[in-house]
Symmetry: C2
Subunit: 340 residues, 2 copies
């Protein structure tokens, strides 16, 4: 049956025919989940290998605007959950997707976002296998919220955790910092900023597989999303009980991102990224890791930004452009609401 | 660090210190997830048994009010996802929980809901192992939305699917119909109804294990949530290509629920349930299934309500109190928004 409505109504959330039409036509026809029971039924050989473990993660996405240069809430929902699996060394396999839709949401917008999710899932090599839709009245949500959960498999013997970072380990990022945060800010329009900035929103599974093949000793990785690079590094330093020193001169950042931050009084170290991770590698595997990252598109801009040290455990310091040193703390308060 | 705020602010979603305090104190201190990496790392012997399969499901919960007689949004989020696993014959193991919180939400309310989730998870024998929090500005969400995803394991050889239902199979429900929908309606207050109704919100894993031990031939089960018993039966009839006949006189329903429906012009067959399932069993196992259900508290009110027939495939018919027969269609349009 063709969905004739142009906008989502409360009936599309009611559990009846209208809901089934919406789900059939907008969601399952695109995602093509493996079954129509109340749950997906799945198995992969890798999961049953002795010593394998499952990785399981979830994120809600409330980004505004829903579409922005370089991505949309659907793409970010796939990438974000894939990357949360990837930074633990897991190979992502399956995603769920739950939609909270505000009454009046355009069906055409939903279709674009669902198509974007399907495209990104195919790129990342994952399947969207189960989902849910709820509809709330006008004013009870802001357009659309998407919550994804993901299952991956961690191969036997793979151990990546922030607590494993040791003094001397080298910190590497895979590319430009702050593009997502700056692109979203510019896209909100109310700042009257005109830029060419695009979100870095990308799935990093292929990148991580390349790194792990070349540098199997990778200690830990984090995607530098909300709270930015600064918060990711602080979490890792604290978990490992090491200090971290980064070099301001080494931080890859576009002139435009720096410009947006200067105008708005933001610190780019706290800007969100959606396709950028930081990883720590033993020094003797750093060159191999760097080369492997540069061999895939998502890592073309990979650079060393600093290292773990025995001094000032739990603290992140930055050697500034002028040769001084300053503490890079966790983000205090809010920088940018609804960035992801 | 003690969380001193009485209400959630945008800073609690920003990725920095305030967010970590909220997560540490309100969520992880109660859920006690197995690790503090970006993803949970899990394994269970049952998953690695040859022939085992994973079940994976998700639901967003937007119920209003957030607390109601017999439950709250947290309890329903745990029960709903557990039951979606259970009706496929899976043993539920792990849940994720993602919270979208409106700025201004009381921290005390969050704590009550988190405690309720932890309590229900313990009862259901599952662990909440990973999660997420997002905060949106006032007016961008309605208090709190919770999205859970769940992983369970389906034992080797277990096959339950609506398509397996055959003419002659007996339809059984585990208890009273419509309590949840009627309790939520009454709790909304604006109807000036004063009732003693409580939601039936409950996890049904123990019930299903009891049934499967006694009646391993169970064909299929569905929890009769949004859209009620009528929608669940219609879905099953259509998937199986069988007709379904139910007896109005056999439907277990409280006088108060009937009363609420009469006053409001609602059909109780479409009222949502959150702890009620319908299952189809081969006739020769129906007595065993019924006895097993009645042996656990969630099934104390179990009764046969009808059966599958070869006639009118895909259609559900009800023999009325007056001996007539009427078609029980899928719900058309909306009955009650935000019932779960």
């Amino acid at each position: 049956m063709a969905l004739r409505d142009e906008r989502v109504t409360l009936a599309h959330g009611g559990g009846g025919k209208a809901m089934r039409d919406l789900i059939d036509e907008v969601f399952t026809s695109v995602f093509q989940p493996p079954g129509m029971e109340d749950q997906a039924r799945l198995m992969a050989d890798a999961v049953q290998e002795p010593g394998a473990r499952l990785a399981f993660t979830t994120d809600s996405f409330v980004v505004t605007p829903l579409e922005f240069p370089g991505g949309d809430i659907g793409k970010i929902a796939v990438c974000g959950t894939v990357n949360d699996l990837v930074v633990g060394g897991a190979v992502p396999l399956w995603l769920s997707a739950a939609f909270i839709i505000e009454e009046g949401c355009e069906v055409a917008l939903l279709r674009r976002i669902v198509a974007s999710m399907a495209r990104e899932a195919a790129l990342a090599g994952v399947r969207i296998v189960t989902g849910d839709t709820k509809v709330v009245g006008r004013g009870a949500a802001d357009g659309l919220f998407v919550t994804t959960a993901g299952i991956g498999v961690i191969q036997p013997g793979r151990e990546m955790a922030a607590a494993l970072i040791r003094p001397g380990d080298v910190a590497i990022v895979n590319g430009m910092l702050g593009d997502h945060g700056a692109a979203i800010l510019a896209a909100r329009g109310d700042l009257a900023l005109s830029t060419d900035l695009h979100s870095d929103c990308a799935s990093l599974g292929h990148l991580m597989q390349a790194v792990l093949a070349a540098a199997p000793g990778v200690r830990a990785a984090r995607d530098a999303t909300r709270g930015g690079l600064a918060s990711a590094l602080n979490e890792m330093a604290e978990a490992a009980g090491v200090g971290v020193v980064i070099e301001e001169v080494a931080l890859p950042m576009r002139t435009e991102v720096k410009g947006v931050c200067e105008i708005l009084g933001l610190d780019p170290l706290y800007l969100a990224n959606e396709g950028t991770l930081v990883l720590f590698v033993p020094e003797d595997q750093a060159a191999a890791a760097l080369a492997a990252m540069r061999s895939v598109p998502e890592g073309a801009g990979a650079v060393v930004i600093g290292r773990a040290v025995a001094a000032h455990p739990g603290q992140v310091r930055m050697v500034t452009l002028f040769g001084g040193s300053r503490i890079v703390d966790m983000l205090v308060g809010e920088q940018l609401p609804r960035i992801c």
